[in-house]
């Protein structure tokens, strides 16, 4: 009997921590990984990405393509990101996200006909960006502090080692009950995100693939696919060009959102 108790004690002391360590052998918690995702793939110089956005009705296969540009820059550890449509009737429509001190974010949308930029309320962050399947959060408006993170056992997707996180919104009126994320350990890009509604059903997926290294520390997914399961609709961003280069800081000024970008 004593031997059994001793064996049990040993297992508590050594085996269980070993199991725990195997899931988190780098010591990172879920929140820390989320912070790393936020801090990764940003440049103080600037990152410019040109892409084509394809909106597709999965049932009818009707599709529509639009050109877009995404720019981001990091200043004093605070990230600024902008997204702009460059053609179609949406030309000029711009989305801007600015990190604020203290971890919060402020987001604006600019519409040519309305004129001045409009701030997007925090309560609107889960809503879709215009007629795409991307939510305002997906385009950079996500605030790490709005969620709790749980790190689950790591997964390997093909050759890619991934962190496996589950995040749950702190706000009870959120549309979603939880998200599951697979994050590439090398690039810190979430290669797969699944969003579940309040009934526990998978209602949205975001897949990032064709990840390329565009500079020493910056990776860019050349393919981003968002699928809205309920609406049977998808939005696919296919990156055509991505480069770390100097960007005009004025592009991130909410009062100059009507300004034409040199990259257009």
């Amino acid at each position: 009997m004593k031997k059994k108790i001793f064996a049990f004690a040993l297992s508590v002391l050594f085996v269980l921590p070993a199991v725990r360590l195997s899931a988190a052998d780098d010591g990172l918690t879920g929140l820390q990984i989320a912070d790393k995702i936020e801090a990764s793939n940003v440049s103080s110089k600037g990152l410019v990405t040109k892409a084509v956005l394809e909106l597709k009705n999965i049932a009818s296969q009707d599709a529509e393509k639009r050109g877009c540009i995404m720019e981001s820059v990091s200043e004093n550890g605070l990230k600024k990101a902008a997204f702009r449509f460059t053609d179609s009737s949406y030309r000029g429509t711009t989305f801007l996200t600015l990190d604020k001190d203290g971890g919060d974010k402020i987001t604006y949308i600019y519409l040519a006909s309305v004129g001045s930029p409009r701030q997007i309320e925090a309560s609107d962050r889960e809503n879709n960006f215009v007629d795409t399947d991307f939510s305002n959060e997906d385009l950079g408006g996500s605030n790490t502090a709005d969620y709790t993170y749980t790190r689950l056992a790591d997964k390997k997707i093909g050759d890619m080692d991934c962190y496996f996180l589950e995040k749950a919104p702190k706000n009870k009126s959120s549309k979603y009950s939880k998200y599951q994320m697979l994050v590439d350990k090398t690039s810190f890009i979430p290669v797969m995100v699944k969003a579940f509604d309040k009934t526990g059903r998978l209602v949205k997926t975001i897949k990032m693939d064709n990840i390329k290294k565009v500079s020493d520390s910056i990776y860019v997914p050349y393919g981003i696919t968002v699928v809205d399961v309920d609406k049977k609709h998808s939005s696919v961003i296919t990156v055509t060009q991505a480069a770390e280069k100097q960007v005009n800081k004025g592009n991130f000024n909410k009062n100059k959102m009507d300004m034409k970008w040199p990259e257009e």
């Binding site: 049932a59 009737s89 006909s113 309560s123 609107d124 809503n127 998978l202 399961v229 049977k232």
Partner: protein, 841 residues
């Protein structure tokens, strides 16, 4: 010809036990089919799928969602108090919780799994991308995926794969899909709030927190925008509604949601709060319940009633037991076949057992009456004689009845078409059973010692009637014919007043709870009926152009003025005006439409609430809800025509397409199909019956004489309906088929006997004497027949449904008029023609 045909079948009686054994086997085979029957009263499923109205309804439902809402009214002396808000909040949460529990229950039911297995499977499905039936099928039929991706154990995976063999994956997907799409209430409805020169979208109740301050704010918000009054809050502030949008099209699931809703609304309801539930899905549920009640109550009642009539007619056990056994077998075969064919039971086909019992009893009466009248012959000889004499009349009668019902196949209204088909088949079954199973049973038992006197010797009140009929016919035939002509003229005038009404809510009696709830809801709020005005761009451009929006605004004003029952036309215009107002600082004068399509497009980009019920993502289509305080379908058709006319020229000039859709449009279509089907049905029935009788009688004159009482009876029916205000609907539309197909039975029996009497007279033909003998020898069985069928149909007077009550009364009345026509009008006409020197032989 028919006699010779029947003679050839007499060989079958050499081995009657084989006929009985075959009948037992067939009956046992049909019983499982009965358990496969489903009740479906969804108006959508009653209409042809290839009709443009149905296609549009389906297409618009895919684009704008299902607008068949369940309305839950919460009444109190004043809704702006914490007690009401707490109740509404709990109610709303509980309704949304249905989405968590019901898919597992539904899946378990569909796949015959335990509750726990149902939950496990739904959890597995929840982890997958499930966009439609194909995704469900791909997962549930693949054991490797079930074990590898969904992590189910191998044994359970095997069970699922096995349960899914031959399954309908559209049904399974529908069962899995959360049944409740959206719930709008005074707590969670979107409110557009302006701040400076921008607007934001929030809920009517701030943060869902219930306190006096927030409730006061809700009242201000509700009063500030007329979108809510009459829809979410009654104009006197004593009621508020929850608008529940369902995503499931499955009839069972919708019923299950309603049942759950009943439980939820009762739980924790404060005493001073009153709750009513209404809407099309609720009406559909109650129709299902009432049909079940009708079938379980009326079927035994009709069996008892017809048995009683048979007993009074024959006064012996055999005369009741054998025909009734045959009728029960006939109903099992017919309903079993319907079940196997996947034909649903609805308000029309629910009366099929009553119709078959009533009609089949007539065949049984004629057969047994004649059987008992044959004295001195052996059993087999009696039966053979029976089949070649009265059997001819039964055969011809069944053939004409089948023709009458099968003529309903010309209609495109599915319940009538299916009813016609299966009643026709049922009558064929009844014919086979009466002609072969019934005699086989009689052959296998000892012939009862029945002292059944000749018709003329039976005496009683019926004999007095028959003698009186004969007297009238022989001496007052001219007056009788003049009276029938006067009836025709009055009836035609009545027909001009006939209305058509196919509206599920009107099917219930005024004191039925569902009708009372619906009436209450229509008194408190704007209305529970709706049609949709859908505007689509033909070239893909935005329909939010100022000229289109302005036209809709003027339409809204005009239609509400012209049709006071139209209480609101709700759509994207209301939201754009509010957004424009808030973007311009909230001034009242800025509650106007944006001046450009681009501005409207951009407002919608800024709007973070859900407007997919009103506008397409590309803004190339918009749907407006025409909310109507419940009215009849003919009024709905006037609104539809007015709307189409209003936009006709404008649509052409602006390259847009206008459609009036929604449940209201489907009821209008049902009305039109019933009317057109009715006219075609009557013409086809008459032609078919005319041909059958011509083949039998080989006399155009006799055929016309036989059809004459039916024609008068039909005119009387429709004239009576017009005069007393009974509308033509899915149930009353069948009366014509019954009148032609069944009423002719009496004429046939009368004329067959009349010809036999005339033939027996040889060269000394005397029409008056032949008429006398026919009335005396066939009159009694015709009257028994009329009484049995009338009694059978009068059982429907106890139905829960107004149209079935009307139908039962009308058919009973028709049987009386066609029966009287056979024993009075036919001889009167023959007598009249005799004076003109025509005997029609």
């Amino acid at each position: 010809m028919i006699e010779k045909l029947l003679e050839k079948t007499l060989e079958i009686f050499k081995k009657p036990w084989m006929v009985i054994a075959a009948a037992v086997i067939i009956t046992l085979a049909f019983i499982p089919g009965i358990f496969m029957l489903q009740i479906d009263n969804d108006i959508h499923n009653m209409l042809p799928k290839d009709n443009i109205v149905v296609k549009n309804y389906d297409r618009f439902e895919d684009i704008f969602g299902n607008k068949n809402l369940i309305f839950v009214a919460v009444e109190s002396d004043n809704i702006y108090k914490e007690e009401v808000f707490n109740y509404v909040k709990n109610l709303q949460n509980a309704v949304l919780d249905i989405n968590k529990t019901m898919p597992a229950e539904n899946i378990a039911k569909k796949l015959r799994l335990t509750a726990g297995e149902g939950r496990e499977l739904v959890n597995a499905l929840n982890e997958q991308v499930i966009m439609g039936p194909d995704d469900v099928k791909a997962l549930l039929t693949n054991k490797e995926r079930l074990t590898g991706e969904a992590f189910l154990d191998a044994k359970f995976a095997d069970k699922i794969v096995s349960a899914c063999r031959g399954a309908n994956f559209t049904n399974i997907y529908d069962a899995y899909h959360p049944p409740v799409k959206k719930v709008d209430s005074i707590i969670t409805s979107d409110f557009i709030k302006g701040t400076g020169n921008k607007f934001s979208v929030m809920k009517l109740l701030d943060d869902g927190v219930i306190n006096p301050k927030n409730i006061g704010e809700v009242k201000k918000r509700v009063d500030s925008w007329d979108m809510y009054k009459g829809l979410l809050v009654s104009r006197d502030n004593t009621s508020t509604s929850l608008l529940i949008q369902l995503s499931s099209k499955d009839v069972d699931t919708r019923s299950a949601v309603y049942r759950e809703l009943k439980k939820i609304t009762a739980a924790g309801k404060p005493a001073d709060i009153k709750v009513s539930i209404a809407g099309e899905p609720v009406i559909s549920y109650f129709m299902t319940e009432s049909i079940l009640h009708d079938i379980s109550f009326l079927m035994p009642l009709v069996l008892i009633t017809v048995s009683l009539v048979l007993f009074l007619s024959f006064k012996n056990f055999q005369g009741v037991f054998y025909p009734m056994t045959g009728l029960a077998v006939c109903v099992v075969w017919t309903y079993g076949l319907m079940g196997y064919c996947g034909i649903p039971v609805n308000i029309v086909s629910s009366i099929l057992p009553v119709v078959l019992t009533a009609l089949g009893s007539a065949y049984g009466i004629h057969f047994m009456n004649n059987y008992f009248l044959i004295h001195g012959a052996g059993k087999l000889d009696s039966i053979k004689k029976n089949i070649t004499t009265v059997g001819v009349g039964i055969f011809t009668g069944a053939l004409t009845a089948m023709a009458g019902f099968l003529a309903l196949l010309s209609t495109k209204f599915m319940p009538l078409r299916n009813f016609g088909l299966f009643t026709g088949i049922g009558i064929f079954f009844a014919l086979v059973i009466v002609m072969y199973l019934l005699p086989s049973m009689l052959l296998e038992i000892k012939r009862p010692k029945v002292n059944f006197p000749d018709e003329e010797e039976q005496g009683g009140i019926i004999l007095k009637f028959l003698k009186w009929f004969n007297h009238m016919v022989q001496y007052n035939y001219n007056m009788l014919l003049v009276i029938s002509l006067i009836i025709c003229v009055v009836s035609v005038a009545g027909i001009s007043m006939l209305k058509v009404e196919m509206n599920n809510a009107e099917f219930f009696k005024k004191n039925a709870p569902v009708r009372m709830d619906d009436d209450r809801m229509n008194r408190i709020f704007d209305g529970t009926q709706e049609m949709d005005l859908v505007i689509e761009s033909k070239d893909g451009s935005s329909v939010l152009r100022p000229e289109i929006l302005a036209k809709v605004d003027s339409y809204k004003k005009d239609v509400m003025e012209k049709f006071p029952r139209v209480k609101r036309v709700m759509g994207i215009n209301d939201y754009l005006k509010k957004m424009n107002q808030e973007m311009s600082g909230g001034k009242e004068e800025d509650y106007i439409l944006p001046e450009s399509a681009r501005k409207a497009d951009d407002y919608l980009m800024l709007y973070s609430g859900a407007l997919d019920n009103f506008v397409t993502p590309k803004h190339d289509g918009a749907s407006y809800d025409i909310v109507i305080n419940r009215t009849n379908t003919m009024s709905l058709e006037k609104i539809q025509k007015y709307t189409e006319e209003y936009f006709r020229d404008f649509a052409g000039q602006n390259n847009i397409k206008i459609s009036v859709s929604g449940t209201g449009a489907m009821y209008i279509l049902a009305n039109n199909l019933i009317v057109h089907g009715e006219i075609e049905d009557i013409i086809i029935s008459f032609i078919a019956v005319f041909i059958i009788m011509m083949l039998d009688f080989r006399s155009t004159g006799l055929t016309i004489v036989a059809l004459w009482p039916i024609f008068v009876a039909l005119l009387m029916d429709f004239g009576f309906m017009g005069i007393v205000g009974i509308p033509l609907n899915a149930a009353t539309a069948i009366v014509a088929s019954l009148a032609i197909g069944t009423g002719i039975d009496y004429s046939i029996h009368f004329i067959v006997k009349y010809r036999q009497e005339m033939a027996a007279m040889g060269d000394k033909k005397d029409v008056g004497e032949a008429i006398y003998r026919t009335i005396m020898h066939r009159g009694r069985s015709i009257m028994y027949n009329v009484l049995a069928v009338m009694a059978g149909f009068f059982v429907l007077l106890f139905s829960n449904f107004v149209p079935l009550v009307q139908f039962g009364g009308l058919v009973g009345f028709t049987m009386l008029t066609t029966g009287a026509g056979a024993v009075i009008m036919i001889p009167a006409t023959l007598k009249y023609l005799e004076k003109g020197g025509k005997t029609l032989l």
